[in-house]
Amino acid sequence: MRHTRKHLSKGLVFILIGLILLLSGCSELTVLDPKGPVAESQRDLILYSLIFLLGVVAVVFSLFIFMVVKYRDKPNRKAEYKPDLHGNRTIEIIWTIIPIMIVTSLSIPTITTLFDLEEPPESSAEQEPLVIHATTADWKWFFSYPEQGIETVNYLHIPTDRGIEFHLSSADSMTALWIPALGGQKYNMAGMENILYLQADETGVFQGRNSNFNGEGFAEQTFKVHAESSSDFQDWVESTQNSAPELTQEKYDSLLKPELVDTMAFSSTHLEWVDHGTKDGMDYSIERHRDAFAEQLELKNGQNHEHGPSGEEGEE
């Protein structure tokens, strides 16, 4: 018995060290290393839930090890054996109430966070959020800035410390906008529009992508998010307005064809003639490219880790 106890305590030390190593490594994981208030509230919720849930794990694992070590059938075992023991009201009530309490403790912050996420982030409440329409088509992203009158393909610029109000929709398959460093995702669907609020508090370049599987080009449907100070952002907007070409309907229609394209910028938006987030715009792409959907990209993995759209950003 003493022998096993020694083993147990040794094991516990290992587990503790392991946990510490693990948690220090965890702070580098994108989702646990938020760059804005939305991702931060989600990170906090995750860590809060972990306290309870790791507690559950600890209890279950300890009980499990205790039972298996103590009640194993072996020669000259001393532990008690009660084959007909089959119930105990009190203890059963206790272990029903404890999970109920845990679930309640997890439900309350979940619900408050859910309602918070439907509003622009509070930390930048003094400013109107920046509106960006994020539209997907197989397998690319269009970001339209209606107030600025510009549109980018496959890359995104945002100012820091200001809420971004994404209007999500899709020209064809269902997709999801996910920028893990800034916060969780929502779906882009044809014929409807979703609103997603995100915000960056730090400058930097973050990974964004479509996270919802939508066919052959799915893995490459990524984009870079350039979060910059509001004056840098303003400069970028102005230079795009001045130097980028206009987006013609003809050009836009050809871009809708299911394939991969590089980054681009335009000094006008496609919202002038179609909004895929409405019932009217729902079959716009399908009508034009019906047959192109049958074609295959024959897409292979890139060499030297090259993935996603490339190109001198802002240039066509």
């Binding site: 965890c26 994981l29 994108t30 919720l45 839930s49 972990l50 849930l53 559950v56 279950v60 694992f61 039972m67 009640y71 194993r72 075992r77 054996y81 084959p83 023991l85 089959h86 119930g87 105990n88 203890i91 029903t96 999970p99 679930v103 439900s107 619900i111 859910l114 309602f115 999500l168 064809d172 269902m174 996910w178 460093a181 969780g184 929502k186 779906y187 014929g191 409807m192 979703n194 990974q207 599987f213 066919g215 052959e216 080009g217 799915f218 019932k279 729902m282 079959d283 399908i286 009508e287 959907f293 049958a294 990209l297 024959e298 897409l299 292979k300 993995n301 890139g302 880790h305 993935h307």
Partner: protein, 644 residues
């Protein structure tokens, strides 16, 4: 359509598959002919209506499907091991993860469990067969041909590639052109008929055919979990049937239920799919819960702790499972209010589940644990499933799920519950009931090798995936980036460990068939429930004399009191159904009709449908009343089986 379009061309791996299929089928045909086994195959297996044989066929098919979908998994893990890997291209990867998921759920997990139910449930309740043995055979063959239909897709016509969830509009006729998606729709439809029929069949069997004295609350817990599962099947599967039919009509006849053109409602598919799909995950976990309860009670040599609470928590879980489907698409934008409601219902499921975990632990308290292989699988389930369960709760917190959704965190969660729950359960059940099925145990030493390889491999494979998810790795991508390299390569190593474990498991079947000691008693584990009261090999009628049940754990009770279920003076002629080839033939015709519909050869499909209706007509004029086994024959069988 030319032959080059009919067969899939241009992919070396698929050519290898074709060669393998040709060789294996050739070898099987040769062996059957050489050993003159065709008649035996037809008489003893293809036409049988005996629940025990049907169960064995279910399990063999499930193991074959586990092999097929497991190979898919290893191919995927190979592709994801290194950032620059170019083993599978995007299209091929998409096909493989689609077939992997679909086969694992529909053609591995469910048939494996239904196979165990087939063998065990009638024996646990003291019955001689299912309520409808003919229907049972039809269920099996429609599942089997459904599985075949799905499996030919990768060499003929092209495999489906829209994921096992097949979301529209992606899976619609524009974005998934060609027959691949039709294979998915019709194969699931065909096997779904069988599942629904089994649902009704087992429900009636359990309600009407229990031995005298066995009240509902004296039923063994595996029978209980089966019973509740059948309710879930009967309520959930019609939703899938309709959804599949609507998508089939969309794709083949141009309607607009789920399309973008014609203002269809693509998201309706997601709703219908998960209204079936969430109950489905409980269809594959509740029977596993039942198996673990039996195995733990037997090898802890102790009554199951909190039997009544266990039963009620199964019932509660089953009810709740219909109220949570929205948690699969919290990110659809239904709003904070809707998401709050479904968050709470989802997390509520963790309450009865947690209670069950504590009951299993309490069953071990003051017990006497024999660490047989079956028990090891059951023990490994408890901590592993706990991890799956708590991460399920994390996913259920909708606001956090915005970050977890579509990521490897989700992948890790459902593999932790499906493998540590369902697969460990299937293995535990197979090892435990193996002597009932084949008259000998599986070798314990080799079994433990398989166990450790598989379980350690499993954790190495899936634990890192939680962290990959938190690092922003989405599911269903066909390549990784360098940042995700370390954890992915670890995961791949674990996957191959599991593969090795499975190989050892299968080898053990062969080894034990050759070398294991033959079983004499029919009760090799000192069991508690009635299936251990029948002799080995189990006679086709199971019980020569129908037992009378007085206590919970009926057989244990009898053994304590020194009673036996066999009393020669009470033997009477037993009425049994005759074998029939009709279920096999009808399902084969359905297979051909579905195959025609996959390729949209409408007139051939209509001809097939008409033939099916004709065979159903023929069946309804079938006056076969079965036969009686006379008393002498029964006495002889029992004497030789019991060594009297």
């Amino acid at each position: 359509m030319g032959l080059d379009e009919f067969f899939v061309t241009g992919e070396p791996l698929i050519y290898a598959g074709m060669v393998a299929i040709t060789l294996v089928s050739g070898a099987i045909i040769f062996l059957l002919t050489y050993f003159k086994k065709w008649k035996w195959l037809w008489r003893e297996w293809l036409t049988t209506v005996d629940h025990k044989r049907i169960g064995i066929m279910y399990i063999l098919s499930a193991l074959a499907m586990l092999f097929r979908a497991g190979s898919d998994a290893l191919m995927m893990r190979t592709q994801l091991a290194f950032p620059d890997m170019n083993f599978l291209n995007a299209q091929h990867y998409n096909e493989i993860f689609t077939t992997h998921g679909t086969i694992m759920i529909f053609f591995m997990a469910m048939p494996f469990l239904i196979g165990l139910m087939n063998i065990v449930v009638p024996q646990q309740i003291g019955a001689r067969d299912f309520a409808f043995p003919y229907l049972n055979a039809l269920s099996f063959w429609s599942f089997f041909f459904g599985a075949m239909l799905f499996n030919v897709s990768f060499v003929i016509g092209g495999a489906p590639d829209a994921g096992w969830t097949s979301y529209t509009p992606l899976a619609g006729d524009i974005m998934s052109q060609g027959p691949g998606q039709n294979f998915y729709l019709l194969a699931l439809q065909l096997s779904g008929i069988g599942t629904l029929a089994t649902g009704i069949n087992l429900m009636v069997t359990i309600l009407k055919m229990r031995a005298p004295g066995m009240t509902l609350f004296k039923m063994p817990i595996f029978t209980w979990s089966t019973f509740i599962t059948m309710f879930i099947i009967v309520f959930a599967f019609p939703i899938l049937t309709i959804a599949l039919a609507l998508m089939t009509i969309d794709r083949i006849f141009g309607s607009h239920f789920f399309t973008l053109a014609g203002e269809g409602l693509p998201m309706m598919w997601a709703n219908l799919f998960w209204m079936w799909g969430h109950p489905e995950v409980y269809i594959v976990i509740l029977p596993a819960f039942g198996i673990f309860s039996e195995v733990i009670a037997t090898f802890a040599r102790k009554r199951l702790f909190g039997y009544t609470v266990m039963v009620w928590s199964i019932i509660l879980i089953a009810g709740l499972s219909f109220l949570v489907w929205v948690h699969h698409f919290f990110t659809m934008g239904a709003g904070a209010f809707v998401n709050s409601i479904f968050s709470v219902t989802t997390m509520a499921i963790a309450i009865p589940t947690g209670v069950k975990i504590f009951n299993w632990l309490a069953t071990l308290y003051k017990s006497r644990i024999r660490t047989t292989t079956a028990m090891m699988w059951a023990l490994a389930f408890i901590p592993s499933f706990t991890i799956g369960g708590i991460t399920g709760v994390m996913l259920g917190m909708a606001a956090a799920d915005y970050q977890f959704h579509n990521s490897y965190f989700l992948i890790a969660h459902f593999h932790y519950v499906l493998i540590a729950g369902t697969v460990f359960g299937c293995f535990a059940g197979l090892v435990y009931w193996y002597p009932k099925m084949f008259g000998h145990k599986l070798n314990e030493r080799i079994g433990k090798w398989a166990f450790w390889l598989f379980v350690i491999g499993f954790h190495i494979c899936f634990l890192p995936q939680y962290f990959l998810g938190l690092d922003g790795m989405p599911r269903r991508v066909f390549h990784i980036v360098p940042e995700w390299f370390n954890l992915n390569v670890i995961s791949t190593i674990g996957a191959f460990g599991m593969g090795l474990g499975f190989a050892v498991f299968v080898y053990n079947i062969y080894y034990s068939y050759r070398y294991s000691e033959r079983e004499q008693t029919g009760d090799p584990w000192d069991g508690r429930t009635l299936e251990w009261a029948t002799p080995t090999p189990v006679p086709e009628y199971n019980f020569a004399v129908v037992p009378h049940v007085k206590e919970h754990d009926a057989y244990w009770d009898m053994k304590q009191k020194g009673e036996t279920i066999y009393d020669e003076s009470k033997v009477e002629p037993i009425h049994m159904p005759n074998s029939t080839g009709q279920p096999f033939i009808m399902s084969a015709i359905m297979f051909f009709a579905s195959f025609a519909l996959v390729f949209e050869w409408i007139w051939l499909a209509v001809a097939g449908l008409v033939t099916i209706l004709v065979t159903m007509g023929i069946r309804s004029f079938d006056y076969d009343e079965g036969r009686h086994i006379d008393v002498e024959e029964i006495k002889q069988t029992e004497r030789s089986a019991r060594g009297l």
